[in-house]
Amino acid sequence: MAPGQYSTDPKQHTLSPIVTGATVIGMKYKDGVILAADTLASYGSEARYKDVCRLKKVGEYTLLGGGGELSDFQYLSDQLDEMADEDWLNEDGCFMGPKEYSSYIGRVMYNRRSKFNPLYNQFVVVGKKKDEPAHLMYVDHQGTAFEENFVATGFGMHLGIPLLRNSWRADMSLDEAKALATKCLEVCFYRDCRAYCKIHIGVCNGTSVDISAPIPLNHFWGHGAWTEKRLEDDDPTATW
């Protein structure tokens, strides 16, 4: 518009996401809690950025996994880094843990939705602070927030949660938990068109927070039903 002109339309905020991440899986295990997510950021239906880490270490003891709008995940990550720096600057041996961060994120998300300017994300905030119990919280763009033993966002909610309900136990070892999370993301890759076959797994065990290097998933496409032709050659309408 020309300088000096103003819009007569009511003020509007973006309500549909542009660059998005898909599923995030989180689950507690014997010694702490893990988070897993694939490395894809989609641009609508295009699998555009295939080497993105959607897990982020926050402070000393916490991991944030983000699905939904990637720029909002990055924005919140920067804000949380600033908070963590201020925490560190106090130099009093006290650090915020997953309880504090997940509660704070929940309040921010709810306040943003109440102003009709949401951060378009589904977050899983996990962590374990020293001898305190492991913490796992789901927070989303509506401000819905709850604590659980295992959660999944996006398509993972539909495809992964049934698998988690069947196999999750509180005393799982780290390897068992990683295997279960990997399996969920494998199923997501097969059936979710916005998912990908490379993942990160993050682990919080009370003493450290580590995000793995990218892990390629196994996937099989050689099923007979897809490789053998089934329809007759002389059928003009045959497509396969």
């Binding site: 009093d92 006290c94 915020m96 504090e100 997940s102 509660s103 704070y104 309040r107």
Partner: protein
């Protein structure tokens, strides 16, 4: 002190003490010192730290037989409380601010605020008033007792904006006699149980009470610590402890 000097006519009222933003040639801010005098005029409040508890105690003043006794100990949160000496109105303003901060922190972070950080913010609030010509310093000293994840703490705040952490401390009128008692028994405090700490706090009040009795009407005690949310002991609740001291 300054007040007795003023009464004796010895005090040097000078051209540098009109407002807080003027330094004296000796490098003092006289208004801040006068504010600290106000704290010294208040009745005694004291605190002491054990291994798992902090105990606050104070002598309450009354203007006469018809009047009530001035409240000296305030709950700030389940894990923090304060004892005051000086301008009660200033103390209530600070207490309200502290309570709001504690509440907001609990709502945002689902977690009680760290006492040390809260007290650090109070000290900054005090300092602000010493660097503006249109404000006056707070005329109250606080003893802040808190129990955190890393144990019990006792802090003193001052109109100057300075902040101190103590194992035991007394402020207000005749505080020195309480401090002397506390120093004498300092080594026994980490190993003492809660009841012993309360008895020490009441015994320490006897010095500041001078020739008057420490009784259920003019004494008050508060405790906070491990598995012990902040609790005020007043009136009849003090009777069993005071009986032991006789």
């Amino acid at each position: 002190g300054l007040l007795s000097d003023a009464k004796n006519g010895k005090m040097n009222r000078n051209q540098y003490d009109t407002d807080v933003s003027t330094w004296s040639p000796q490098g003092k801010l006289h208004q801040v010192e006068y504010a600290m005098e106000s704290v010294k005029q208040g009745s005694c409040s004291l605190g002491l730290v054990g291994k798992d508890f902090v105990v606050l105690a104070a002598l309450k003043r009354s203007t006469g037989d018809l009047a009530s006794y001035q409240k000296k100990l305030f709950k700030i949160d389940d894990h923090i409380g304060i004892g005051i000496a000086g301008l009660t109105a200033d103390a209530r303003s600070l207490a309200t601010w502290m309570r709001t901060e504690c509440l907001n922190h609990k709502f945002q972070y689902d977690s009680p605020v760290t006492t040390g950080r809260l007290v650090s913010d109070i000290a900054d609030k005090h300092q602000e008033k010493t660097q503006a010509s249109w404000k006056r310093p707070y005329g109250v000293g606080l003893l802040v007792a808190g129990y955190d994840r890393d144990g019990p703490h006792l802090y003193q705040t001052c109109p100057s904006g300075n902040l101190y952490e103590y194992k035991a401390m007394a402020i207000g009128a005749r505080a020195q006699s309480a401090k002397t008692y506390l120093e004498k028994h300092l080594d026994s405090m980490p190993g003492a149980d809660l009841e012993t700490l309360v008895l020490h706090s009441l015994k320490a009040l006897e010095g500041p009470a001078n020739d008057k009795d420490v009784d259920v009407k003019n004494a008050c005690v508060a405790v906070v610590g491990k598995n012990q949310p902040f609790e005020l002991l007043e009136g009849d609740a003090l009777e069993p402890y005071l009986r032991q001291l006789k």
